[in-house]
Amino acid sequence: MLSEFNNYFWPVLVASITILGIVGCYILLKLTGKKNNANDTNSTSGHIWDEDLEEKNNPLPRWWVGLFVITIIWGLIYLWLYPGIILTDGYLKWTQLKQYQNELDTADKKYAAMYRDYGQLDLDSFINNRKAIKIGKKIFLNNCAQCHGSDARGTKSFPNLTDHDWLYGGEIKDIKTTIINGRNGLMPPLGSIGTKNDLWDVAHYVKSLSGSKHHPMKAIRGKEKFGICASCHGLDGKGNQTIGAPNLTDQIWLHGESLEGIVHRITYGIKNEMPAWKDRLTPDQIHLVSLYTRMLSREDQ
């Protein structure tokens, strides 16, 4: 906790104010409890305003004072239990992180039984189980939708999960592997394979693979240079799911379809990362969300 402070000044100041405040409350309570009164004929508090306006002494009940004392004692106990005085960790060694972790553990324990029923579902029974779909959807919306979009159709650089273009394979077990360990997509920079014009030619060839708009002559020239690309994307440009090399023949452009963009990516390469979820989701949750994702692409058929 001290790491947030570069010296002892602030913690000591805060601790002193806290303790002085508590002690001060007690002293104040003691001091104001009695009043020396010179002229106590009507049991007034001794205050007189505007010549004759007196304040009647209407004593506070003792139990009320007792409550005040209890709060003072409670304040001290609290400071002892919790890291209220920043210099100590407190008797309970409480931290926000521990409390958060405890709550997570409790929730995991609570919901584990519910998830266990769904951990064994296959795709067909999943699609017919409205409750399972609902839970799968919730997990997706809470964890995956930030990047892939709520409708799972992605956006630039974040893959669309509802088409049939699977970078790493679309079987349940492939999807699970992707979610569990994450994926690191890497296209190396290949700017050195030729001149700038050569790179443009390759880009035109790549566009021609999917029948997109391209310059035929440049594309023919580019084909000669495509060999080095083929080691990952395949000679036919259909990609390779074991290493996540995208299919170039399907008019699906994860990072955009402009020629400039393609040239840029050939020149400088590109990295794309899907984080690993094995520490965030339980195996049953991963199973459910994999089924849900698979279902979305099936619906498209």
């Binding site: 409890g33 106590d40 049991s43 009940p61 979009g149 709520s150 498209d300």
Partner: protein
């Protein structure tokens, strides 16, 4: 002059109110019965296979007979609070602290605890004498008896209270097996303890030092507000205080003895007075015995007391503009409240724009925005719903969404639906456009509107 030390704190003297039965005391008991029957029996009522009144905090569903409320229904809670506040204004202006004297839980439980105390310990004289006597087996036994009954009653009260928040029948089984745990146990004990402590020991101290309502009530009084008044002109001088003319007050002190708040009403209106009317009951009973007219202490206003007003003039005082206006406002708000309650749709929804996707252009050259719709069925039947969108030319829900969108919800179920909305690309200048989602319950004309924004980005075309 002599210096003297005055303590600003003091121990409160215990009050031993004398029992009395009369007009006001009967009203008081009437309200004790009414409020307690409602409190102790409501949780046991069944409604359509569930507990009729149940406030489920964990699932955030609040059942009151045929109604199910959700946190989104906060407006109805506000309505109840507004009605209560206006009711407070009206009744305080009209009749002062009548709530305090007749039906406040503090009053009601104190009354019940006093009754138990009187049954076990005897009347107020015996009680005071026993408290002052030395401890012996008999005193311990009697005190033990009283506290046992108090505690059993308090635990039952705490149990009933928890029964409003967690199903009471399983709770009863758990209680019989002593297997109640967690927050239920805490609240049974805590609420029970507060009942025991406040009604058994704190009593009038709560009204005097804790209750905020008691302190700001006076600002709602006016000179025509009904208060407990001792007719000084008729009563004074008291018996034995003067050799000549004598008032009706025989100075028997019974009005002081019965007062649960330990004041003497003959000193005029005091802040401790809760308008319970027990002094008036007591005084009337004595006046009857000495063959004098009653109402020496009565619940009235100074003007009515001083002048012998006709019925219509009295009504004019009671129906003064302030009261009439308060009543009209109160009645119209109650009417509005129930009108809204009866006509509320039994489904709700709200729309959140997708946080991940600003917009995208799909391969059919449509500009798409994504929305999450949270739809809740708060009714009692399984229902299906239709969704539509408008607000821009040629705006529509995209085909893929429509193909898979089947909004069907069981009673009290809610779900999130993802909807992709599209317009032809480049059909609009870049900017944010308001659009509407319309949700209709199938088989009804109930349509809910919900606003959202459709974003047409600046450089979507360039980026490609």
């Amino acid at each position: 002059m002599q210096e003297k030390v005055v303590s600003l704190y003091q121990s409160e003297k215990k009050i031993y109110p004398r029992e009395i039965l009369g007009f006001y005391a009967k009203w008081r008991w009437f309200f004790v019965w009414i409020t307690q029957i409602i409190f102790y029996f409501t949780p046991w009522i069944e409604w359509g296979g569930r507990q009729a009144v149940l406030f489920e905090i964990t699932s955030r569903k609040f059942y009151i007979f045929k109604y199910v409320f959700y946190p989104q229904d906060l407006i109805y809670l506000s309505g109840i609070l507004i009605i209560s506040a206006l009711g407070l204004f009206l009744f305080t202006t009209l009749a002062g602290r009548i709530w305090c004297g007749l039906s406040c839980p503090q009053t009601v439980y104190t009354e019940i605890f006093l009754w138990i105390e009187a049954k076990i310990e005897g009347n107020f004289i015996k009680r005071e004498r026993r408290d002052k006597s030395n401890w012996n087996i008999n005193k311990i036994f009697i005190k033990l008896q009283k506290h046992m009954v108090w505690i059993i009653f308090s635990i039952w009260t705490g149990f009933t209270f928890v029964g409003f928040f967690t199903p009471i029948k399983p709770l009863l089984n758990e209680s019989i097996e002593f297997s109640v745990t967690g927050w239920s146990l805490f609240w049974i004990i805590f609420y029970g303890f507060l009942t025991y402590f406040n009604a058994g020991f704190m009593r009038e101290q709560v009204c005097k030092y804790m209750c905020p309502y008691a302190r700001f009530q006076s600002s709602m009084f006016d000179q025509n507000t009904l208060t407990m008044i001792y007719d000084k002109d008729r009563g004074e001088p008291r018996k034995g205080k003067s050799d000549g003319k004598q008032g009706d007050c025989i100075d028997c002190n019974i009005c002081v003895q019965v007062c649960p708040n330990g004041i003497d009403i003959r000193n005029g209106l005091q802040y401790e007075c809760i308008f319970c009317g027990l002094c008036a009951d007591a005084c009337d009973s004595v006046m009857k015995k000495v063959n004098k007219p009653g109402n020496l202490i009565s619940y009235t206003t100074p003007i009515i007391l001083k002048n012998n007003l006709s019925f219509s003039k009295k009504m004019k005082i009671f129906l003064r503009p302030r009261i009439t206006i308060y009543s009209l406002i109160l009645i119209s708000i109650i009417g509005l409240f129930f009108y809204k309650l009866e006509n509320r749709y039994d489904f709700k929804f709200n729309v959140i724009r997708d946080r991940g996707i600003l917009s995208r252009v799909d391969k059919n050259d449509m500009l798409q925005n994504v929305y999450r719709l949270k739809i809740m069925n708060v009714g009692l039947s399984n229902d299906r719903y239709n969704l539509a969108v408008d607000g821009l030319p040629r705006i529509r829900i995209d085909k893929k969404t429509i193909k898979n969108l089947r909004i069907e919800l069981d009673p009290v179920e809610s779900d999130t639906y993802v909807v992709t909305v599209e317009i032809p690309n480049k059909s609009k200048q870049p900017g944010n456009y308001p659009i509407n989602f319309l949700l209709r319950k199938l088989g009804s004309d109930n349509v809910l509107f919900e606003k959202s924004i459709f974003v047409v980005p600046k450089d979507e075309n360039k980026k490609k």
